[in-house]
């Protein structure tokens, strides 16, 4: 959904840039405050790299149309919503500057639509579902997928709203809304599948690294790996620390 230069008038582009910049500023503060520490920070850069890679993989949707992951829900569930907004902003910045994908004057618009909106909607849906459903880590991939499913048409709708206000071409609202929604509901299904699969993969090997699974009981019970007190007769073999 990368918006090129020329789709939006200057005031709209400037306004979205201001909103995007405020979102990034808030995210810088909240990411440090709540999400990034020595343990969680290393995954953040790699999630950004993974989203970049996956955005190159356009999959066919319907009749000569393709779609690709946006990644908001995926990144937010893995590393937290504030860090996700930062990661996605870097992806769109690099795409615009290095790959001519998404306009320079449209950078704020693209960060707002595919970064901020997909993160807030995707993570919002995820958290609401998490609040009403049983607290189980095994549900996290499914809920992340549902957040992803909703996030893509939501971004499409925000595009439609912006285009009606500040688009450089007059297109009837209903026509644009139905066209954008139709195709992005389909793309959302792809987004959901990729998101659920990627979250499940990390959750399987390291549930503690998945932001959206913190404080949830995992299916794996706690295992006592060394018990020198319970077995005093055991030879005092050095127990290797975790590498």
């Amino acid at each position: 959904m990368h918006v090129p230069d020329g789709f939006f008038d200057a005031p709209t582009s400037a306004a979205t840039a201001v909103v995007a910049a405020s979102a990034i500023g808030t995210s810088l503060y909240l990411a440090r405050r709540r999400e990034l520490d020595d343990r969680t920070a290393p995954l953040a850069g790699l999630v950004a790299a993974f989203v970049f890679a996956t955005q190159m993989l356009n999959f066919p949707v319907a009749g000569g149309t393709s779609g690709h992951l946006m990644g908001g829900a995926l990144a937010a569930v893995l590393v937290g919503p504030a860090t996700a907004i930062l990661c996605l902003s870097v992806v769109f910045l690099v795409q615009a500057l290095l790959f001519a994908d998404g306009g320079i004057t449209a950078l704020g618009t693209n960060i707002l639509l595919m970064g901020v909106v997909t993160v807030l909607v995707g993570y919002g849906v995820f958290r609401v579902l998490q609040a009403v459903l049983p607290k189980r880590a095994s549900l996290v991939p499914l809920l992340a997928g549902l957040g992803a499913l909703v996030s893509v048409p939501a971004a499409a709708l925000v595009f439609v709203g912006l285009f009606e206000v500040g688009g450089t071409v007059d297109v009837p609202l209903g026509t644009l809304a139905s066209a954008m929604l139709g195709v992005h509901v389909l793309i959302g299904i792809g987004e959901a599948v990729i998101t659920a699969a990627a979250v499940a993969a990390i959750l399987k090997v390291r549930p503690d690294l998945v932001h959206g699974a913190r404080r949830l009981p995992t299916a794996t019970p706690l295992v006592v790996r060394t018990s020198p007190v319970a077995t005093p007769a055991a030879p005092a073999a050095p127990t290797g620390g975790e590498a």
Binding site: M1, V3, P4, D5, G6, F7, L28, A31, R34, L36, D37, D38, R39, A41, P42, L43, A44, G45, L46, A48, A49, F50, F52, A53, T54, M56, N58, F59, V61, T65, S66, G67, V90, L93, V94, Q95, L97, L98, F99, A100, D101, G103, I104, A137, S138, G167, V169, V171, L176, A179, M180, I187, K204, V205, R206, D208, L209, R215, A219, A243
Partner: protein
């Protein structure tokens, strides 16, 4: 979820490897049809509103060349990874997630 807990280094290397393979190799088979917005813009006749991109002169414009994906992954990793690493709270994990290990 009985998989053995993998070391952090292993998980990170795994994600990096998957990203490089997806961007560097698998992307060759990506669908080249216009994406959702481009298609709608064509169908509804506002495709022509797009103006030339100032980065069209970049050697990687349009993800051209066999190394575009790999370069992109590494550049994104350097910027996002560097920024989040500098931004992190130092020292042991904060009050948010107390852990025994």
């Amino acid at each position: 979820m009985s998989a053995r807990r993998a070391s952090t280094r292993r998980v990170l290397l795994g994600v990096l490897l998957v990203s490089l393979v997806l961007a560097g190799v698998v992307s060759r088979w990506a669908d080249s049809a216009p994406d959702g917005l481009s298609r709608v813009a064509q169908d509804l006749g506002f495709e022509g509103a797009a103006t030339p991109h100032v980065s069209d002169g970049s050697p990687f414009a349009g993800y051209a060349g066999p190394w575009a994906g790999v370069v992109g992954v590494l550049v994104v990793l350097a910027i996002a990874g560097g920024a989040t690493w500098l931004l992190r709270r130092r020292g042991p994990a904060g009050d948010d997630h107390p852990r025994a290990d």
